[in-house]
Symmetry: C2
Subunit: 248 residues, 2 copies
């Protein structure tokens, strides 16, 4: 069962990913692929280094994103229809005038905005990120929480991580998985008896003659949390072993 | 001020990133870079397509990760010291026997485990992901919540997104930013008077003669939420304009 394609509506459709002064067409292709993976389709390029970006080969499966990508001469035109402009940046040595939010919080603020309005997320060139002039178009900045010692991310990695944060569902982190169907007490008991028989027949006397051996074996088997499907397989294996022990 | 390098201890040091049957050395380099960005240093390669992976050029700044990467012949050896093995996979058409968790939940489960024990995170080949035999080494699987229509991610993107989820701090999403220092009431009032004067001098009578014009102007200025630093600049601009209005 497939969920409906989210291309034409919803919060994702209100976000424009804007790549500024990107030098490498492969990075444009890779960013487009990450966009397509996470359901974002509005790619805008400001002054890309190579007009041949449409030939970007690494954009596996990202054809739709690249085909509809638009090229602009400056940031102002690229973000003209957006009421929020956010810049992705390493902090570097700059002390930005704008507020700088960690990605976790930035995602929250952007999701809130995208619920009703258009926003742009700007990424600077591979070499130097967003320049100060470019940053001046932003309402605020976001920072991916990388190590200070190695802050600079690959451009498409940064796009992928930011978009993941935007589609991330906090509730999923707390969702309990579908309960595995565990074997019934009767099945576990039958398996345990067979195991005890196998231990005795095999002469594992250190274990079977110790005080409380039976209780220990019961607890040991319970801790396996055997599933209904699996216990039949285990029981079959044990029966076969028992047969061989009795008929050597 | 730099935070301490987390290379030698802590939960991050207990995670091994295991790339299985990776074909393209560039992807190994890119994955290493993402690891370094997020502070993970234990890279293990199972049967990589090209032994020359150490020459991978795209691993900008990932030298330490690549230099200490280890090559194994099979998954069992690669994960021998790990008490949890998780496979990153697209669901594809498989019905996995193992539990499959969305990344949000997988991150939570892995963080819990990494608090005290070692874990491995497996990524399959670029072409086909993890094969069934490879998956059989995993305790459970994780899925990055990509679109069903375009599920397959670039290998290094997937590494980056998974590691981001692991270092992500949920508390950051709710953290209030440092309060911007707003201009004082006195400064705002002075600015508002200057603005009213400028409106009158410029002959903007539609506005200034309307009922409640002064109150409207006050509210208008308050909504700007002018900062202490900025209001001095705005006031200076307005004084200059007023001077020109008076001395045409």
């Amino acid at each position: 069962m497939r969920v409906q394609d989210s291309r034409d509506s919803g919060p994702n459709s209100r976000l424009a990913v804007v790549l500024v002064n990107t030098r490498n067409p492969l990075n444009i292709g890779a960013a487009a692929r990450a966009m397509s993976n996470f359901g974002f389709f509005d790619l805008r390029l400001v002054n890309p280094y190579e007009a041949a970006f449409r030939e970007a080969v690494s954009g596996v499966g990202a054809g739709a994103v690249l085909a509809s990508a638009r090229v602009f001469n400056d940031i102002a035109s690229a973000v003209a229809d957006c009421s929020l402009v956010v810049g992705a940046t390493g902090l570097g040595n700059r002390t930005p005038q704008q507020a700088l939010h960690r990605l976790e919080r930035a995602g929250r603020l952007m999701r809130r905005h995208l619920a009703a309005s258009r926003a742009a997320l700007l990424f600077g060139s591979e070499k130097s990120g967003l320049a100060n002039e470019e940053i001046s178009h932003c309402h605020w900045l976001l920072r991916i929480p990388t190590r200070p010692e190695h802050e600079s991310m690959n451009l498409a990695h940064a796009v992928a991580v930011c978009l993941y944060e935007l589609i991330r569902k906090p509730s999923e982190a707390r969702r309990m998985p579908e309960e595995a169907i565990l074997a019934s007490g009767e099945e576990v008991e039958r398996f345990t008896r067979l195991l005890e028989e196998a231990l005795q027949l095999s002469g594992h006397t250190d274990y079977t003659r110790a005080t409380g051996a039976s209780e220990k074996t019961h607890r040991l088997v319970r801790r396996l949390a055997l599933r209904e499907h699996d216990i039949h397989i285990w029981t079959g294996m044990l029966r076969q072993i028992l047969w061989k022990l009795r008929n050597p």
